[in-house]
Amino acid sequence: MAVTGWFVLLVALGVVPVVALAPVASPALVLVGWLVLCTGLAGLDLALAASPRALRLQRQTDARVRLTETATATLFVTNPSRRPLRGAIRDAWEPSAGAAPSRQPLLVPPGERRAIVTRLTPWRRGERRTALVTVRSRGPLRLAERQVSIRLPGTITVLPEFAARKHLPSRLARLRELDGRTSVMVRGQGTEFDSLREYVRGDDVRSIDWRATARRSGGPGPDGRPGQTLMVRTWRPERDRHVVVVVDSGRTAAARIADETRLDTAFESTLLLSALADRAGDRVDVAVFDRRVRGRVQGARGADLLAKLVETMAPIDPELIETDYTAVPGLVRSMTTQRSLVVLCVPLESPGATRSLLAMLPQLTTRHLVLVAAVTDPALLEAAGERDDRAAVYRAAAAERALLDAERVAAAVRRLGGDVVSAAPLDLPPAVADRYLAYKAAGRL
């Protein structure tokens, strides 16, 4: 039960009879009498209030919502009793579900049903839950309320934001430009013959197909003279390549850089790369790994791929354990047998912390094209440029040292045959996508 402000006011109003009746009655007796009256009225009010225990509750919640977007959670409250239910209701979502309003007034006439709509704007990825619904039913005198909590679980899956999807249209345009290109500058073993067409100014002269030109040169040209039509071969990037993304979800992935954990940045990069590679006709397999495989998406294509990816990534939080890099080659072997682009979303910080990563890397680079996508900390760059006083200079020196360490690790990765992309959190997904396009154009996949 609970009391209302009116009850408090009623109790406080007892001062009037206590003082006014002082000449004719003992004030203590008047006080006791007033308190008895107050509690009696409150008890009567409680008895007259509609029973919240009799309520029938049903929940209808959106199954999933993308981070930063808003979903609705609806609660249907049926009042089967013969008294109107007045009061308030609270749907107890976890704080990070961003439920608003957290408590709402409730008025359900006898035998009717009302929908209580709560808007959820989660600020954290994963599965957000609610367990309890608390209902208060106020009596007709507005003095006291009956309160019960009803266990009615509900969940909503909060998917990764995929803020990097804004980079997708420009990258897809670049991808289309790669198709049907004649340039041989980027032609390599990975490109495939596409078609023949007439030469236009600007085409690389080395892509002229003389045999086809000779075949077409029988008839007269546009100006009546023969042999003026040159034919060029066009190329398109090879399709059906294999991209394997391994995301590190270990201890270091919990680090928060520029208000985003490394894991979230890795997820953003993975989503953008997957969307792009899928459109380019490549197969994408993704594994999230620390000491065991926390999530794996294999063999999905098209819209199904992204849906499966966000569904898999949603509940994964960084684990506070050291990632076992020695198991990564085995994991990659289990996902692909052909030569693939292996993208490792791991931190490249200090030589000591990455020793096991570097030790494992040759096993991958001998068979695959390895790209290490690492997040750099913009705070380090900022600190390196700030040298106003003595403390700032020492901080700048430490920042430079940290940058140097990262660079040394990147150089070590390159020496071992891998490739490195490192950028600030917001910049890493497009950088990885660009690198993928560069590989595609160069036919290195």
């Binding site: 609970a2 009391v3 209302t4 408090v8 406080a12 007892g14 001062v15 206590v18 003082v19 002082a22 004030p27 225990r53 029938r56 509750l57 049903q58 919640t61 959106d62 199954a63 999933r64 609705t72 990070s96 408590r103 309890l132 208060r136 309160q147 909590s149 009803i150 266990r151 009615l152 509900g154 998917l159 919990a254 928060r256 954990t261 939080d317 750099t376 900390d377 913009p378 440029g385 040298r387 006083d389 003595r390 200079v393 020492y394 901080r395 020196a397 430490a398 430079e400 040292r401 140097l404 660079e407 990147a410 490195v420 992309v421 490192s422 950028a423 600030a424 917001l426 910049d427 950088a431």
Partner: protein, 414 residues
Amino acid sequence: MSAPADLNAELSAVITTPTVRRAVRRSLYWAVAIAGLLVLGAITIALNGATREAERWGAEESAPAGSRAVVEVLRDAGIEVVVVGRLDDALTAAETSGTTLFVGDTRAILDAERWPRLLGVADHLVIAEPSQPALDALRIDALTAAPLTEGRDAIELEAGCSVPAAQRAESIRATGIGYSTLDGEACFDAGETGAGLVRLDVDGRQVSVLGAGSVLQNGEITRAGNAALALGLLGEHPTLVWYQPTPADLTAPTAAELTPDWVNPVAWLAVLAGLAAAFWRGRRFGPVVIENLPVVVKTTETMEGRARLYAREGSRLRALDALRVGTLRRIADGLALGRGAGVDDIVSAVAGITGRDPAALRTLLIDLEPANDRELVELSDRLLELEAHIARRVGLDDLAPTAPPPAPTGRMDA
């Protein structure tokens, strides 16, 4: 993103708030247990009375400090003992002739105005261990001397006077306060500490100042001649008024008498209204929701820690070298010298671009060692200035790390 889930089955809705009956049943054990403990405590207190402090010379007090023994013996001997707690009652009771008035002001309640009223009422006034202010107020010939003790023990005193009760007692063994007198008769005189009993004659009535007060107490009365003295002193007359001042003697009006009688109830009402308000505002709307939040790891901790280490150890050269390496790296990148470029290549390239002296550049970029923090800051500024100079020369705005816009991205695509 919003495919609605199926309506949850109503079966999963379970009311977790217990009903009144269940709540009562659940808390019954504790309620009974607490009530039982309270009853047990009350019984214990009622049986032992352990918490009450024994009242000295209390007429009904059976503890060692009380005087029930002497009062009962006197009653058995046919003396009418009237126990009173107010001055007016004591004076009324003592008006009849043939009365002994015993006054034991253990709580120092009587003031200078009330002490004199005791004089001249009873045939024999016995005052137990009066304080010096009381003696001053009474204007009788006695002064407090010293505590009557021998070390920590009771002191043995011989009568040595003509007071009949003292003579019958012969010797007492007691503690209390010694008194000295000029004209009065001092009994049980211990010399410096004063006398255990002083007998005075005030306006024709007897006044006894009993310094050896412990002779009246239950615990001491059986020693030596204590009982004889106590009975002789108090049993002289057929009536004994046993007066111990109580707070009822304080006639000053209390706060309760000055205020209207509704003030207390109103105060109680305010307290209760406050409690109700606390319950109104403090009642939780259902239980607190618990959520497991992921850890937050700051990445700059390592950098800050290393900076503090440099600063504390004064590793100026190490710090400066880190800054120099960063500068060289940015210059090499900016001038497209490649990753393999050595320091000499960079120095000569920079000298070519800026027109500075190669030797001076080499000193700045490699050789100079800072002697103190001021030089370190200055060298750091010169490094920045060099970078800015090169950036101006080659038109690379993004070379200098201080260039504020755009925000540093740290993208290293090369």
